[in-house]
Subunit: 362 residues, 2 copies
């Protein structure tokens, strides 16, 4: 993640060669160093701090402190640390947990980021601004071993997919659309499976998920030829009874992103699928000409495509985002989905996951 | 194509922002300058000069001369020019038409490439070595306006797909596998359609195709989020009776590249599909665990996926690569495919295309 531009170009060029071999050394090759200090800028709007709240909720044991700029009002309920104090307390990375206007790092953040790097903290960002372009930041890492980690930048040495079956079990989140709870469902299932004594890992395919898991690849940022290869890296061979719970991306029914979804599905080779859906949504978000499919239609197409790389793929559950519904309407929607698909329906924010986990484990 | 590394990074970062707008200024944004001088290195093996032969065969009017290094024996039957003479004769670009070992530019080619750039010729390459890394080459372009064009590098300002229907007609090549004649079929159909008075253009999605057409995007090198967006750029809105004949990539049945194929299909929004197949092939090339689908299975899946962005998509023909068959066996394979699919079957190297063109035009 901290290559020079020239090295990156060389590695990208090398990876471009379909005939050349490359291998995955680890799930995603991007391993973040925990624990984290969460940087909240001068943010005042909680909606712009979703990354920070997600980290606090899903990687609580890795979040040791928070740090703000003057004017910032977001409070995660964590101790306030300056970077040097955080480093002394064992923090390894400062993670940018807010999204400023334009998704870019404002110039006045440089001093704080430089101070953190000088204190030896890795800087972890999912924003558009490449960290190495922040004035003074590269120099600040020189003596300390701190790394600059842009989590949306994929590793440069991705292999093409092999298509070969690998050991371990996998459950993939798939959806009728983007942004309807696939990441949340995967996180909740992985946590609940571990609570049931299952050896399970959440596997991240997007930037917030990567920060939570501490590893992963932003598959939508990968060069197209390597989507399925990236998915194979994200979920490597494992013990026979180990489960990877794989975050989904996009939707096979999305006119812009279905290619990402299909490559991720093929490389994941899931044994089980969980179909994620929002019962109130009628069309693809921001693409009003594209109606969402029915649940059975979605199930049939996902299974059709998944079975190409894993003939035993089956649907194990349906996750509904019922946030907009009252309790009675939510229960009715869940009952309807369960009748329609014949698998447990759940809302990870609202209902127990036990039956879904039983269905996943088969 | 001739941005600095820093500009490229900025543009890539900007394009990463799903919410940020970007537009296509032209089909692929990469417009090569014709006519060409074909550079053949010291190659002696015609199999390593497929690009040069493809250009001579499919862009004959754009190929004015050839140039070789000492020891080279490939002969395209074109006049020998040194770069300066070629420039004086009106040549605009030197195109590397051979593939040296490793797909990389050997150091001893630098002098010839530098001389061409100094003579004002663009340098066009599909090899892995970035042209700007060839010693002296960037400097050689300084005074002459020559450009360094790596055709496998996609433009950096690709938009995400809109999914909106656009004017003009499109026929897309799709296949049961990679490398079985999709580009050749598209080139032959486009030429024959023009011969029938149809306003038709070949649209390139891979590097050799781009050199032939003089424009296009290598879709397998695009960042995954922008595959369908790139396809929309490759085949922009056109006159109502204009046909784009779109080169295919990969296969929906390919365990590594199906995501590329799906994104290209969605963005192409084809009115008609031509299914390309090799009747002697039993499994995906280099992936022996993956048997090829039957023709009807392939048709059904391609139509299912194509109709998401164009509900009127239909199968118009089947192109068989019968190179390994004698005449009787080829005719039998064509008759069988035609019975199976109910559309004209042809081999662009062997049979007339008239019936297929009638079927495409509807």
């Amino acid at each position: 993640m901290d290559y020079t531009s020239e090295e990156r170009e060389q590695r990208r060029s090398a990876a471009d060669g379909k005939g050349e071999e490359s291998t995955c050394r680890s799930p995603g090759n991007v391993i973040l160093r925990k624990p984290y200090l969460l940087f909240l800028g001068e943010e005042t709007n909680p909606l712009k701090a979703k990354t920070a709240f997600g980290l606090r909720d899903w990687a609580a044991e890795s979040c040791i402190g928070q740090t703000r700029m003057p004017g910032g009002t977001i409070d995660l309920g964590l101790p306030e640390f300056d970077p040097a104090t955080a480093a002394a307390a064992g923090v390894r990375s400062l993670v940018i947990g807010v999204t400023p206007p334009g998704g870019r790092i404002p110039p006045h953040w440089s001093r704080m980021l430089v101070a953190a790097a000088e204190a030896g903290l890795d800087i972890v960002s999912g924003l558009h601004t490449p960290l190495e372009s922040v004035p003074g930041l590269v120099r600040a890492t020189a003596g300390t071993g701190a790394r600059l980690v842009d989590v949306r930048r994929p590793p440069d040495n991705l292999p093409r997919a092999t298509g070969k079956r690998r050991s371990g079990k996998r459950v993939a989140m798939v959806g009728t659309d983007c942004a309807l709870g696939k990441k949340y469902t995967a996180l909740a299932l992985a946590r609940a499976m571990r609570g049931h004594g299952v050896d399970a890992d959440f596997r991240a395919t997007g930037q917030t998920g990567i920060m939570i898991a501490g590893a992963g690849i932003a598959v939508d940022a990968v060069v197209a030829d390597f989507i399925a290869g990236a998915a194979e890296c994200i979920s490597p061979a494992a013990a026979a009874d180990h489960w990877d719970v794989i975050e989904g991306q996009g939707s096979l029914f999305h006119p812009a992103y279905a290619g990402v979804t299909l490559g991720l599905l093929h490389g994941s080779q899931p044994d089980a699928l969980v179909l994620c859906h929002d019962p109130e949504r009628t069309h693809v978000v921001s693409w009003p000409d594209y109606p969402l499919p029915g649940l059975q239609e979605a199930r049939d197409l996902y299974l059709r495509m998944a079975r190409m790389t894993n003939p035993d793929a089956r649907l194990a559950g349906v996750s509904l985002n019922t946030a907009a519904l009252d309790e009675a309407a939510a229960q009715e929607a869940l009952a309807r989905a369960e009748r329609e698909l014949g698998v447990p329906a759940f809302d990870p924010l609202r209902t127990p996951l036990d039956r879904a986990i039983d269905a996943i484990l088969g």
